[in-house]
């Protein structure tokens, strides 16, 4: 991407320091890098976008998987990057393919909204909107240390370890407080309570007994998100239906609930989070998809 010279009109219509999305970067991570590059408090760019586009806010428990196009369109000239580059920092394209013809929605990936993990008195103390307390928000300390990078993969449900660095994601600081995506009055990428840089959180290696599970989950996500289509998802549903009789009733590995019945119609509407939970719980592995869709 080209530099902007002072005499160009874009000089005045861009932020003082521009940042461009890194490969596999998640949009809120890009916004935090923008805050850091411009010496702004955490969440300044995010709040500016909401205010400028008159967006009512994402509400409590949002996962920020998909952003409205109006926000991306507004952000693109501020960074002088194409909108398509910003779209790639969300899972909008992948989910649109997977859940066609429905428009992409966060719930397609993470399921229904859950309550956030931060108590209300805490939200008040850091002067933030509920959105900053994103449920299940976690980070890889090595990604942060290397490039201040929040990958899109950090929002994939059930993954507890960074698929790149094989260290545990951190949802809490060593001081015990949860990590908040945006916390006013703090610099970006630091604990809002103690100020510890997220890059300094301990590197906890992936234990041997978790390797297969994490690998399979990651492989499923690659399959569904990178190569996925609505027909692939339907085929996965058929595979589940053909195998599920042997297992019902069974307990979902991640959700911890018992499943007594699965309707074929409902399978098509399942979130990826729930679908993967069923696949893993009834012992279907990504290899079952290796030679085409074996039903």
């Amino acid at each position: 991407m080209k530099g902007i010279a002072l005499e160009a009109s874009a000089w005045l219509s861009t932020f003082p320091h521009r940042v461009a999305p890194l490969p596999d970067e998640w949009l809120p991570g890009l916004l935090l890098r923008c805050d850091e590059a411009n010496h702004w408090q955490s969440g300044t760019t995010f709040r500016h976008l909401l205010r400028s586009t008159h967006h009512p806010g994402f509400g409590s428990g949002s996962s920020l998987v998909v952003f409205p196009f109006s926000i991306l369109e507004y952000l693109a000239p501020l960074l002088e990057v194409p909108v398509s580059c910003l779209l790639a920092t969300t899972y909008a394209g992948e989910l649109a393919r997977l859940y066609a013809p429905n428009p992409p929605h966060s719930e397609h990936l993470v399921g229904p909204r859950r309550s956030n993990n931060v108590r209300s008195f805490l939200q008040k103390s850091v002067g933030m909107r509920a959105i900053t307390a994103m449920p299940g928000f976690h980070i890889c300390p090595i990604c942060i240390a290397q490039a201040r990078l929040l990958r899109r993969t950090t929002i994939l449900p059930h993954l507890n370890y960074c698929p790149i660095h094989h260290v545990a994601f951190h949802a809490h600081c060593t001081c015990g407080f949860p990590l908040l995506l945006f916390s006013r009055k703090r610099q970006p990428f630091v604990c809002f309570a103690c100020g510890l840089d997220w890059a300094q959180l301990p590197h906890i290696p992936l234990p041997a007994d978790q390797v297969t599970l994490e690998h399979d989950l990651w492989a499923f996500y690659e399959l569904f998100l990178l190569k996925g289509s609505s027909s692939l998802k339907m085929a996965a549903g058929s595979l589940v239906l053909s195998r599920i009789k042997e297992y019902i009733p069974f307990e979902l590995r991640f959700a911890g609930r018992r499943v007594k019945h699965v309707a074929s119609l409902a399978l098509d509407r399942l979130s990826l989070r729930y679908l993967l939970d069923i696949l893993v719980s009834i012992g279907i592995s990504p290899d079952d998809f290796a030679d085409g869709l074996v039903v």
Binding site: L6, P16, H17, R18, V19, W40
Partner: protein
Amino acid sequence: MTELGPRPPFVVHQKFLETPFERRFQGLLRQAWQERSWHVIAAVPGSGKSLGIADFVVSSAAYKDATGTTQLAVLAIRAPKNAAREQALGMAMSATLGVVPRMPWWQRRSWLVPILASTGVECIIIDDAQDLTLAHLALLKELTDNLAAPPYERQVGLCLVTAHSGNVMPFKETFARPDVLWKQFRRRLATENPYCVVPGHTEEEVRRTLMTFEDLYRSQLPDLQLLRWTKTIFTWLTNPILDPDATGRVAMDHLTRLVTTSLQRAYGHGAADIDAAILQAVAELMILRRDEITFIEPISHDELLPQREQA
């Protein structure tokens, strides 16, 4: 007069001309930038200060790249008008950097220091500095002091560029006051050339500038010979009406107006050069009829109708 066929409209060149005044003026700006020194630079209105600053800033090779690096070695702003509070100056400085989200003044004030450091600001130029207030100057001192202190340890040059008239040197009296702030300000001014007046053009410099105009406009007026009018033009433009301080120098704005208006008229008459009559008419317009009021008669509806019908 050579008769020419139908011509396209006359094009006035908007190019920045590196005139002798600009060389002197930009030389001072460059000195302040290189030596990180503080100067008050004065010149008469219309001498080309603002154009010189704009060209100087552009040539400082500022850029914003996509990896987060922004270089703005020379930050130039115009002093806020009718806005005496320090916020106005802070906002003007922020605005030159691009889009900055809304933030309270206390936050913006402290934000200015790291952002000026990270964008590599080495020299601040304030145009129309005669409009600066005490609050603005205090903010400038605070910002530059904070930049000079750890962790930034960045000395920043400062040029207060002012329009002046008469023999009064702007800021000289203010900085000579006994208040601590002014003492501190005075101490920061450069040892060499703290107060500079950049004069306009001498007759020889007018001649050289006319030579440049000839080159610029020869494509539109092929027989153009401006040099022969040097003496006359210099005499007209140093008339007490245009040079009330009797500096004996020519301001670039006057020279440009006289030349381009004359060329425009000559071109409009289908000529390939200007003549004495045209030059004199324009000079009279500038000198004798400068404050003349023109009454624009209202155009009646009836007069417009036939034209509309023709159209």
